[in-house]
């Protein structure tokens, strides 16, 4: 009897499958695998081989899934069903933190559940690719979702090669399958009488040894390879991907988006069955008094209206904008963000779309390949850089210690620095400035234009720009625009709040060195620019003329009134103020902020501009700046988007290839390109 | 809003908007020279025309629609309807499905009775305006009531997805049946609920009811081996005995001019009463032994029959019965082979009666050749009880005429509440616009 080794595949007779399950159970692993339930092959707990879908397959088509019996004993003759492994690695609801607030004092504690050992049985090639994709997003970027990382590390991957692709499958086009090549511990190929088994990791090798298999004979090995090859043959290459990202970006204004929106229900099914979609929201579960609340991370989708909501508005009200965001993200901007495609070609979004929208057909309609490409079969852009290595799942530490592009500076669940209100100043009827004392070195190391996430238990954490840095603290100017900001505005001296940050990319102060500076802002938008003014004045000689143009609704709605007067009195700073309407006691200007440009000369080609305000105000300002010759790489704007996490993990704030929270909120117009001011992005 | 108009030789008692009943109703009693000249239970409930709403719909759609007649007893409406359709279609449901239907009904009885006993009725006996005040006196009691109610709601929710307007009842069975484990999960709550229900019986037995007795004609279902619920023959305390499909052979409805009400009566125009007191009176021998023992222990069987205020004891005993039976069903549950029996709609007459928490609920449908509803008639218990309630008000009146007016009015209101009138149920029949009094 020839025993298997790491190099030699073994043969596991069908009857031996329970032995594998027993071994896994003995290791304390829960086994999740395919089983028939609710009219589909779903992933659920597997106790015995008899739980597997022996003799079942399913016919899949856009918007349709029907189980069918095959009359064989084969247990893995189905293509992927409605569930994906992210139910296990990235569950729909996970408690993040428990916040408590008693007598104005807050505390936050980690609420992550444990991640017990588990084994995934029956993972397909496309599904391994999906796991690796989510690894890149959630565990290998500059921010790490600790719950995901722990669950992923606790999972043993037992792949079963896919030899029965569905009509909706297109992994061959996306370069993710059907062959299982990486990212597994054990890989099995099903034959009529059993499985050819090979190991893909040290943990897999140990397991294989303990199975004490005979070596698979060459006939079986060949049959196994042929079966997978035949599956590839059957699928062909339905989605020519060469140049697809660029074509999609170029198709941003295609009329096809509106046509899709005629059919699309914006029901979000595609995003939730997608094994790589990672967008989440945070739900607050609180007691009746708000004394204690659990923040839960919850699956969300870019197809919901609430997803892109900000105070007083929404960035993607139209369904066509939401569909464009999803498709463009999957197939184009995901490359910019993570160096890979966001689609693995599993076809779930096609089968489980309630009205059968087929992403393959829509891609071809929105971004048709050039005729030459259509003819050249087999030109497939490498969909997945080979540098994305598999994660040896059994070695849990590997996931976190593997080389990652940047040090992990942020994590979910968040940790908040408890910070006390040292001073409270009312600015306007609905706006206050709070000064916080802190010795937290991170908070104190912030730069102009950065923001913090301010958290009170029972309220969603709110992104608030820092309006001044002190040696021993910082200031936040907060407008009561919603419940959370209202609660923050109600804080009194001595109360505490959880602060996290500073986050994001601030104003590039150095860019203004040797240039004229024009700062254009309106309303609450002055707050994030105040630290910039502080920084410029602190090092005044580095810059030429500095002009601050400020618009407000009325004289009483202006922030920092006294400070503005002091600034206006300085000889080295020109301050222009204008309001939308005023009473007879106002002797300043009335009109729009762009009107202030007429006050004096602007040496556009030599100027750097910093702009912050409502988006409509910024677009009008940018028009004037460009008209005066300020180049796009010297116009900096700050964007407001819906933010839940602040570290690029929740997905809400995406704008094209950027996460506004992480890559912004400050961008130069040159960086944003045509995305600036465009409807629905 | 207690109105009072005392004129020479005439006493008027008006309660515009009786509280702690389901739906909006009012009562009026006018006594002149010691003689009751008007006794009316009136309802300000806007008609919703359910009998019309179901026309053109399929039987399964009807199950969803008629549930909406009443938020307190939606299961009752689903039960009468589903049995009627299955009777017409000769659908033989599996015994365990039949048992699950009983369990579902038990859940509704528990929820409805606990609601009425603790939150609506008990405050009357203890001088409170509501359960919050009652909780100030006796928080443990209110919490016991809420726990009982929750146990009932949980049964309905496990079987039907939610406590109000559950979604799983289908002609031929259920859209989905619970697993053994899902039902077992109810056990801890039900064990506690049995203690609570027994405590309820003892608690209400300590109440002091107004001194009032009358002879009543009672009507309920009666089954040879079960306490009346889904099945059985329609019987009365004076010898009536009908199949559950044949209600119309002995009862009629008529519209009275002062009301939207279609009042039901038997041929002899003598009022009759449905509900817990009727069931206890006509079927006490079928009570679960635990409930039977509780009834015997408090010794109020006679009082339940004679004094409408003691209906609270009848409900308490039925709480014990429903919890005890639910426990038995949970313990003996074997999931059915199939959740739903195949069934084809056909033309014909479908009718059935079941025991809603408030008493006999009769449904009658005519189906066209496509199996769609051509016409419907739904006779809820409160509409049938209305005449009896008005008659009892008349009998009760002499005993309160010497009381201060507001005390007397309050007593009348209490009397109405003791029947647990479900005015929302009575949608299609009740909406009395009180004639303008001078």
């Amino acid at each position: 009897m020839v025993m298997t080794s790491a190099a030699v595949p073994g043969f596991l007779p069908r009857a031996g499958l329970d032995r594998l399950l027993d071994l896994l159970a003995a290791d304390g692993r829960r086994v999740i695998g395919p089983t028939v339930g609710q009219g589909a092959v779903v992933y659920d707990e597997i106790h015995h081989a008899s739980d597997l879908p022996a003799g079942w397959t399913a016919d899949q088509a856009p918007g349709s899934y029907r189980l069918r019996q095959t009359g064989t004993e084969r247990q893995f003759d189905y293509a992927v069903g409605p569930t994906s492994w992210k139910h296990e690695t990235f569950p729909p609801r996970v408690p993040l933190t428990i916040g408590r607030r008693v007598n104005g004092q807050v505390t936050f504690e980690d609420a992550l559940p444990a991640a017990p050992p588990v084994a995934f049985l029956g993972v397909r090639g496309c599904e391994i690719a999906a796991l690796l994709t989510q690894d890149a997003v959630l565990a290998r970027g500059i921010a790490v979702d600790r719950d995901y990382a722990a669950r992923r590390a606790a999972a043993l991957i037992i792949a079963v090669e896919c030899v029965t692709p569905a009509d909706t499958c297109f992994c061959t086009s996306m370069g993710t399958g059907p062959e299982v090549t990486t990212g597994f511990d054990l890989a099995m190929t099903e034959l009529d009488d059993g499985f050819v088994v090979r190991a893909g990791s040290p943990a897999g090798e140990r397991l294989l040894e303990r199975l004490e298999l005979t070596a698979a004979d060459p006939g079986r090995t060949t049959a196994a390879q042929d079966a997978v090859a035949a599956a590839r043959e059957r699928m062909g290459d339905p989605v020519p991907t060469a140049g697809l990202p660029a074509r999609l970006i170029a198709a941003a204004e295609s009329p096809q988006w509106a046509e899709i929106a005629e059919r699309c229900l914006a029901c979000a099914n595609c995003t939730l069955v997608c094994p790589t979609c990672f967008c989440t929201g945070v739900t607050q579960v609180s007691d009746l008094d708000g004394f204690e609340a659990t923040a839960e991370r919850t699956w969300d989708s870019c197809f919901t209206l609430g997803f892109s909501k900000v105070a007083g508005g929404n960035f993607r009200p139209r369904v066509q904008d939401r569909y464009r965001q999803w498709l463009t993200h999957k197939f184009a901007t995901w490359w910019d963000q993570f160096g890979m495609s966001g689609c693995v070609g599993c076809g779930r979004c096609i089968t489980w779309c309630p009205v059968g929208i087929d992403v393959r057909a829509e891609l071809m309609a929105v971004a048709p390949p050039p005729p030459a490409l259509k003819a050249a079969v087999g030109i497939i852009e490498p969909a997945r850089p080979t540098t994305v290595k598999s994660v040896p799942p059994a070695a849990s530490a590997a996931l976190l210690t593997a080389p990652i592009p940047l040090p992990a500076v942020e994590e979910l669940p968040p940790t908040y620095a408890r910070t006390f209100v040292a001073e409270r100043r009312r600015e306007t009827v609905d706006t206050v400035t709070l000064r916080f004392d802190t010795s937290d070195p991170d908070l104190l190391a912030g730069r102009p234009g950065q923001f913090v996430m301010a958290a009170l238990p029972a309220f969603s954490a709110a992104p608030i720009s820092v309006s001044r840095f002190h040696r021993d603290g910082l200031e936040l100017t907060i407008r009561a625009a919603g419940a959370a900001t209202r609660a923050l505005c109600e804080l009194r001296r001595g109360d505490s709040v959880g602060l996290r940050g500073p986050m994001g990319r601030g104003w590039p102060v150095d860019a203004a060195e040797g240039h004229d500076v024009v700062i254009v802002t309106g309303g609450i938008g002055l707050a994030p620019l105040r630290p910039l003014v502080d920084a410029l004045l602190a090092d005044r000689t580095r810059f030429r003329e500095i002009r601050l143009l400020y618009g407000a609704r009325s004289p009483a709605d202006r922030l920092y009134v006294e400070e503005l007067s002091e600034l206006a009195a300085r000889p080295d700073l020109d301050v222009g103020q204008i309001v939308d309407r005023a009473g007879p006691d106002w002797f300043g200007r009335v009109g729009v902020v762009t009107g202030l440009f007429d006050q004096g000369h602007l040496d556009g080609p030599n100027a750097v501009a910093y702009v912050c305000g409502p988006e409509r105000m910024m677009t009008a300002t940018v028009d004037v700046l460009r008209d005066r010759g300020v180049s796009d790489d010297r116009i900096f704007v700050t964007l407001e988007r819906h933010m839940e996490c602040g570290v690029g993990l929740c997905g809400h704030c995406q704008l094209g290839k950027s996460f506004v929270c992480r890559d912004g909120p400050v961008f130069s117009l040159a960086e944003m390109g045509p995305a600036f001011g465009r409807e629905g992005l | 809003m207690h109105g009072t108009h005392v004129t020479t030789g005439e006493q008027r008692f008006d309660v515009q908007g009786i509280t702690r009943v389901e739906g909006e109703g009012s009562l009026r009693l006018v006594v002149r020279d010691g003689q009751v000249i008007e006794s009316q239970l009136a309802i300000f409930e806007a008609p919703r025309y359910f009998e019309r709403l179901v026309v053109g719909r399929t039987p399964n759609e009807v199950l969803d629609i008629v549930a909406r007649i009443c938020g307190i007893c939606p299961v009752a409406y689903q039960m009468s309807a589903v049995h009627a359709f299955e009777d017409l279609g000769e659908v033989a449901i599996e015994p365990s499905v039949r048992t699950l239907r009983r369990l579902l009904y038990c859940g509704e009885w528990i929820e409805s009775h606990a609601l009425h006993v603790y939150l609506l009725h008990a405050p009357d006996f203890l001088g409170c305006a509501n359960a919050v005040e009652l909780a100030n006196l006796d928080r443990a009691a209110v919490e016991r009531g809420l726990a009982l109610k929750k146990a009932g709601n949980r049964i309905v929710a496990v079987l039907g997805g939610r406590p109000i307007h559950p979604v799983s009842v289908r002609v031929g069975g259920f859209s989905k049946v619970p697993t053994k484990r899902e039902l077992q999960a109810l056990r801890p709550d039900l064990d506690a609920a049995l203690d609570h229900a027994l405590a309820t019986v003892d608690w209400v037995a300590t109440f002091v009811a107004p001194d009032f007795e009358r002879e009543e004609r009672f009507v309920s279902l009666r089954h040879p081996t079960e306490y009346p619920m889904n099945d059985g023959r329609i019987v009365s305390s004076d010898g009536l005995d009908l199949a559950p499909t044949d209600w119309e052979t002995a009862f009629q409805e008529e519209q009275v001019p002062w009301s939207h009400a279609l009042q039901a009566h038997m041929g002899d125009r003598v009022p009759y009463l449905l509900g817990p007191a009727a069931r206890i009176t006509l079927a006490a021998d079928q009570l679960h032994p635990t409930a039977r023992a509780a009834l015997d222990r408090i010794g109020l069987a006679d009082a339940i029959r004679r004094n409408p205020y003691w209906s609270i004891a009848a409900r308490a005993v039925e709480l014990v019965h429903a919890v005890a039976e639910a426990l038995d069903i949970v313990d003996g549950y074997v999931p059915p082979e199939r959740a739903t029996e195949p069934w084809t709609p056909s033309a014909g007459t479908a009718s059935w009666a079941t025991e809603a928490p408030r008493g006999l609920l009769f449904h009658h449908y005519e189906l066209d050749e496509r199996g769609r509803i051509a016409s419907a008639r739904i006779v809820p218990p409160t509409s049938q009880n209305q005449a009896a309630i008005e008659a009892d008000m008349t009998s009760f009146a002499p005993s309160i005429l010497d009381e201060p007016h507001d005390v007397a009015t309050h007593r009348l209101e209490q009397l109405i509440r003791s029947y647990d009138p479900c005015i929302s149920c009575a949608t299609h029949f009740l909406d009395l616009t009180v004639e303008a009094s001078s």
């Binding site: 309407r581 005023a582 009473g583 002797f587 200007r589 009335v590 | -």
Partner: protein, 159 residues
């Protein structure tokens, strides 16, 4: 108000600088200058607008009377910009009350005379109307932005 003939100034204004040389000379005849103290009322809403004005120096406020709120300034006009366009456009009634916010010098063109010149001289008319149109378009665009009330807070939810 102090008035005087300041013929040299029209050429130096934004409005005047755009006029053809010959026409400029003709208009010059109808121009005069005026100075106002801070707070002085230059024009009242509803009154006949006699002159087209160009702010030479200072700032004027255009105000509307809103019965519930009193006088509200909806726009200020700065040096180089025009006021009193209703002197050219019928029915020649002022659409707002014009107040000098700070000491202000205006160049005034007699409306009736200007209209006569415009009717008689298409070349002048083309130049003047174009300038007026641009000024009004600018003002309309600004007014739209103000109308958006961008800096206000939307509070349509009761929480």
């Amino acid at each position: 108000m102090v008035s005087g003939s300041q013929s040299g100034a029209l050429r130096d204004t934004w409005f005047g600088a755009r006029l053809p040389e010959a026409e400029l000379g003709r208009l010059q005849a109808h121009a005069r200058s005026a100075s106002y103290e801070a707070g002085a009322e230059i024009l009242r809403e509803g009154d006949l607008t006699r002159d087209l004005g160009i702010v030479v120096q200072g700032r004027v406020a255009l105000r509307l009377r809103v019965p519930e709120r009193g006088m509200t300034t909806v726009l200020t006009v700065e040096a180089g910009e025009i006021i009193g366009w209703s002197a050219v456009v019928p029915p020649h009634r002022s659409t707002s009350t014009v107040i000098a916010v700070v000491p202000t010098d205006l160049m005034l063109l007699d409306g009736a005379a200007l209209r006569t010149e415009l009717d008689a001289d298409p070349v002048l008319a083309a130049a003047v109307y174009r300038s007026l149109l641009e000024a009004l378009a600018d003002r309309l665009t600004g007014t739209r932005m103000q109308l958006l009330d961008l800096f206000s807070q939307h509070r349509d939810e009761p929480w």
